[in-house]
């Protein structure tokens, strides 16, 4: 399967995502340059974390207007798998490919820590490697990860199983005490109604390479790969 990692000015996790697909997953992968509209032959697209355009104005506010994003949207509309991680999630909400917005962390500080997440829905193309209720460690590193959406939107997403991950304690308890940034309902990652676009603040690529002592994030990429192989076979 061919993977693409969107390369925007300032997206400093592009190489990490590339590494995760190339070295950990062992799949072909290449960069998609932000000025190009022709994405070529790709089966899945990763919008990586970082500080695209220096996070100026709002994280993702400038990046979502880049030429390549028009093509990413079209790719998603045709059912292609897209995952936005951290700044990538922010870009996806700015572009309205996902509902809601990411506000500044409640504590007003950048937060980098190895975060425990509870898997909420494992019947998606991005989470099939997990069991619902699994607790995984996935590092977070963000200043604007406080997920917000209107009450009715949240209600709808919850009812549809669109919340994939919640910030939790190591034993899976979800409460204010386990919420690092003030996100509504401890939401850490969501999926669109069509089930092909995911945004998550935690970095699954950072817990994909077991040399670094963490490996649970690999499941996200393996799930995507298995889904692609199933659809393409």
């Amino acid at each position: 399967m061919n993977w693409g990692v969107l390369l925007l000015p300032g997206s400093n996790c592009a190489e990490d995502c590339f590494h995760a697909v190339d070295q950990v997953l062992g799949q072909p992968v290449r960069y998609l340059w932000h000025k190009d509209t022709d994405l070529g032959d790709v089966d899945a697209i990763i919008i990586p974390g970082g500080f695209s355009y220096g996070d100026h104005l709002r994280p993702g506010a400038i990046a979502h207007l880049s030429p390549a994003m028009t093509s990413v949207k079209a790719f998603a509309e045709k059912g292609g798998l897209v995952i936005g991680i951290c700044n990538g999630f922010q870009i996806l909400t700015e572009s309205r490919m996902l509902p809601g917005a990411l506000l500044q962390n409640k504590g007003l500080k950048f937060l980098c820590q190895d975060q425990t997440l509870r898997v909420e829905n494992n019947s998606t193309a991005f989470t099939s490697e997990y069991e619902a209720g699994d607790v995984i460690i996935c590092p977070i590193a963000h200043n604007e990860g406080n997920y917000y959406a209107k009450a009715e939107t949240i209600e709808e997403m919850e009812a549809n199983g669109q919340v994939l991950f919640r910030y939790s304690s190591p034993d899976g308890e979800v409460s204010d005490a386990t919420n690092p940034n003030g996100s509504i309902n401890n939401i850490a990652g969501i999926i669109n109604r069509n089930g092909n676009v995911v945004g998550m603040m935690p970095h699954p690529e950072r817990s994909a390479d077991s040399v670094l002592g963490l490996s649970a994030g690999k499941g996200v990429f393996v799930s995507m790969l298995k889904h692609l192989e199933a659809v393409n076979s």
Binding site: P9, G10, N12, C13, E15, D16, H19, A20, Q23, G50, F51, Y53, G54, D55, H56, K109, F110, L111, C112, Q113, P139, A141, N143, H203, E205, R206, D209, V211, L212, G213
Partner: protein, 744 residues
């Protein structure tokens, strides 16, 4: 040439920071009086900041060569060999004065500057560290504001530019109340074939400026940084540079792409004294001249004078020496990243440094003379306080009744408590190389595609150096090496940051000289040469006096296999706990004396460099033989604190039984050197003890790891410490947050 001779009758050179004799010397070099532009060139290049006028004569003591040293001092950063045709480059730099005035921007631009030094070597920056010193946070709201802003500035820059901030230290003493220290270090990785140099070879080659526009930022920062803070006034506030990490990120990407091609003969970061310093250094190395037309420099502000353009410290700029004819190709790559590379001058063959404005010469001096800053070797004099502090005897203080309480207090004290409040604001995982995170003795990064890693640490101990500059400075080097060794890394080399007061006073000069001797001796003993560094002098204010003499050491080591990666926390119940080294009745200079008795007194504990080297060699050998479960060095707070830290991090208890015949406080909290705390599974314990005996290293089994979550220490059957781990952990984990929330 220029009508006005700089109003030299007004002794303008004094305002520019030059002495009468320096002025006489430069007119001799020039064979005439300088104009304003020329005077500005000398004033910048001959400042302490650029010319190292007081420190250069002392640098000769440093060992700078060794089998792994590829590049010693003299380039943007030094280089060491880590096998497989791969090298690391690293350096530290101070940003003390800017951080005192505008802590957020001062710290941020400090990070940006040192990253560009690494980039200029041709390397990819893989890690940032920092060493920060402040007054006590509980003391003043202003200090807490400084800490918050400095940490925020470091985080904001490092996080955005995508270089993980993986380690460092944060230390507190009243001596830094008026003059905080912010030293930033960066480590870069590259293949040996990718090394770049700061050299302007090839007559006719172009000087190209890349990155940000030039404004009046940091105007005169180079000489500004060499003055007492007292002389600063509100007008000087415009001297603060503003950082743009997004621009820096683009600069990194674009430069590394350009370096892949054969277009560039030399690269130099624009740091202190901007275009001037970077171009003089590259020309001097090649024995060439250069000419620069200030009209060609892309500017952000209008009506800038030639000397302003030359010395501006606008951030995120680099100087490239580009092969004639390749300029457009270079520009094309920068253009891809929405940047521009602009020709501002050329390499010439006449050895002159020539400044033009719209083609007309406005200043012209010999390159060599700018690099030939006069140096000063003064006569130092031992500071008066040493007589008083060294008269300390252990009997001057009583052993406290409640040693448990002492332990809890030390665990929550500023220098010892967890600094998670700080490093959780730094992205320490980006680039996916971080094997051991901040909060450990040293951080470990893997080298992608290889079974090997790099250990990095930054260390200092101002109090030690204040009480004994020589042994104190030796201790700083060995402490850095201890941190690497217990993490499984073999120390390779250091970069040093010399943070001192005004060297023109005999006691500060004494401290500086002794510190350099001490650093040199320890570096020789441990085979860790000095490959570069930085000096920041004049760190003092009229209100609070001079800082502690604070040499800061950044050390890098090689982890030959990632299997060797070792951490401080206890791993399993029943593991034997082993203490290496000799515990003497030494209370002097300790954290305990400072925190519990309020005394900065005594002498630094005795240090035998040979014994230290042998003990470190043993630990590395034991780690490589796979014998150790954990390893931790004994530092601030001594044995009891080290045991508590290994327990807290491992969430396991320890039962310790000692048989010493010294005071209980010296036994628990004294800081006798060359000691380490190891744990080992029972089946490997004998082999470990045999190895220690063979190598002549003193080792004693002092207890076992337990699951009862209690920390118990007995000496000759007397219970000294008996505390629930939860209490220790709470003090350690919340100490810093509490200090930052103190009112006042």
């Amino acid at each position: 040439m220029t009508e006005k001779k700089a109003g030299m009758e007004e002794k303008l050179w004094r305002k520019a920071g030059l002495t009468d004799s320096e002025y006489a010397l430069l007119t001799k070099h020039m064979g005439r009086e300088p104009n304003v532009v020329e005077l500005a060139l000398y004033a910048q290049m001959w400042s302490e900041h650029c010319g190292y006028t007081h420190t250069r004569p002392l640098f000769k003591h440093f060992p700078t060569t060794g089998p792994r040293i590829v590049q010693g001092p003299g380039e943007n950063a030094g280089i060491v060999d880590i096998d497989d045709d791969e090298v690391l480059t690293f350096k530290l730099e101070s940003h003390n004065h800017p951080s005192a005035i505008a802590p957020f921007q001062g710290a941020a631009t400090g990070v940006g500057g040192i990253i560009r030094d690494i980039l200029a070597m041709g390397a990819y920056p893989i890690a940032s560290l920092n060493s920060l010193h402040f007054g006590h946070p509980g003391d003043r709201g202003h200090t807490r504001w400084l800490i918050s802003e400095v940490v925020h500035g470091i985080g904001e820059y490092g996080n955005c530019v995508g270089v993980p901030t993986v380690g460092g230290e944060l230390r507190f003493a009243d001596a830094y109340k008026g003059n905080p220290l912010v030293n930033a270090m960066c480590v870069g990785y590259m293949k040996k074939s990718e090394i770049k140099k700061a050299i302007a070879t090839g007559v006719g080659n172009s000087l190209m400026i890349v990155g940000n526009l030039t404004g009046r930022d940091g105007m005169g920062g180079a000489s500004f940084a060499s003055k007492d803070l007292e002389e600063e006034n509100d007008d000087d506030r415009g001297a603060i540079q503003v950082g743009d990490p997004f621009m820096e990120k683009l600069l990194i990407e674009a430069c590394l792409e350009v370096f892949q091609e054969d277009y560039v003969v030399g690269v130099q970061d624009m740091g202190a004294a901007g275009i001037l310093s970077s171009s003089v250094e590259t020309a001097s190395k090649a024995g060439n001249g250069v000419e620069i037309d200030v009209a060609l420099v892309p500017k952000r502000e209008e009506a800038m004078r030639p000397e302003e353009v030359m010395i501006s410290e606008s951030q995120e700029r680099m100087l490239l020496i580009v092969k004639k004819g390749m300029e457009e190709k270079v520009n094309k790559i920068f253009h891809k990243w929405d940047l521009h590379a602009v020709v501002i001058g050329h390499v010439t063959d006449d050895g002159m440094y020539r400044v033009l404005e719209d083609g007309k010469t406005v200043g012209e001096v010999p390159v060599w003379s700018l690099m030939d800053a006069p140096t000063y070797e003064l006569v130092g004099e031992a500071p008066a306080h040493l007589q008083r502090t060294q008269s300390f005897k252990n009997s001057d203080v009583d052993v406290p009744d409640d040693l448990n309480q002492v332990l809890i207090k030390l665990l929550g004290s500023p220098d010892i408590c967890s600094k998670e409040w700080v490093y959780r604001q730094y992205d320490h995982r980006v680039q996916m190389n971080t094997v051991v995170k901040p909060g450990s003795d040293a951080s470990i990064l893997r080298i992608k595609g290889r079974d090997k890693g790099v250990g990095v640490t930054m260390d200092s101990n101002g109090r030690y150096c204040y009480l004994n500059p020589r042994t104190g400075s030796q201790s700083v080097v060995v402490e850095a090496a201890r941190n690497l060794v217990v993490s499984g890394a073999e120390p390779i080399a250091i970069t040093d940051g010399l943070n001192f007061g005004n060297p023109e006073t005999p006691d500060v000069y004494y401290q500086l000289e002794q510190a350099i001797m001490g650093l040199s001796e320890a570096c020789r003993a441990l085979n860790t040469p000095v490959i570069g560094g930085n000096a920041s002098l004049y760190n003092q204010t009229p209100e609070f006096g001079a800082i502690y003499p604070t040499p800061i050491v950044g050390m890098v080591g090689l982890v030959k296999s990632l299997d060797h990666t070792t951490t401080m926390e206890f791993k399993a119940e029943g593991d034997h706990i082993i203490l290496l080294g000799t515990t003497r009745e030494e209370l002097g200079a300790s954290e305990y004396l400072d925190q519990i008795h309020g005394m900065v007194m005594g002498d630094v504990p005795e240090l035998d460099l040979e014994e230290e080297a042998q003990t470190q060699a043993f630990i590395l050998k034991a780690i490589r033989a796979g014998l150790l479960s954990s390893a931790h060095d004994l530092g601030d707070g001594g044995l009891a604190v080290a045991i508590a830290e290994s327990c807290i991090k491992g969430e396991l208890g320890a039962h310790i039984e000692l048989d010493a015949n010294i005071r209980a406080d010296a036994l628990l909290f004294g800081e006798s050197q060359s000691r380490f705390l190891l744990s080992v599974t029972p089946d490997k314990a004998d082999q470990l003890m045999d190895m220690a005996a063979e190598m002549g290293v003193e080792a004693a089994t002092i207890g076992k790891v337990s699951t009862d979550k209690k920390l118990s220490i007995k000496n000759n059957e007397t219970q000294l410490i008996d505390r629930d781990l939860a209490l220790c952990a709470d003090a350690f984990n919340t100490g810093f947050d509490k200090m930052m929330k103190t009112d006042g």
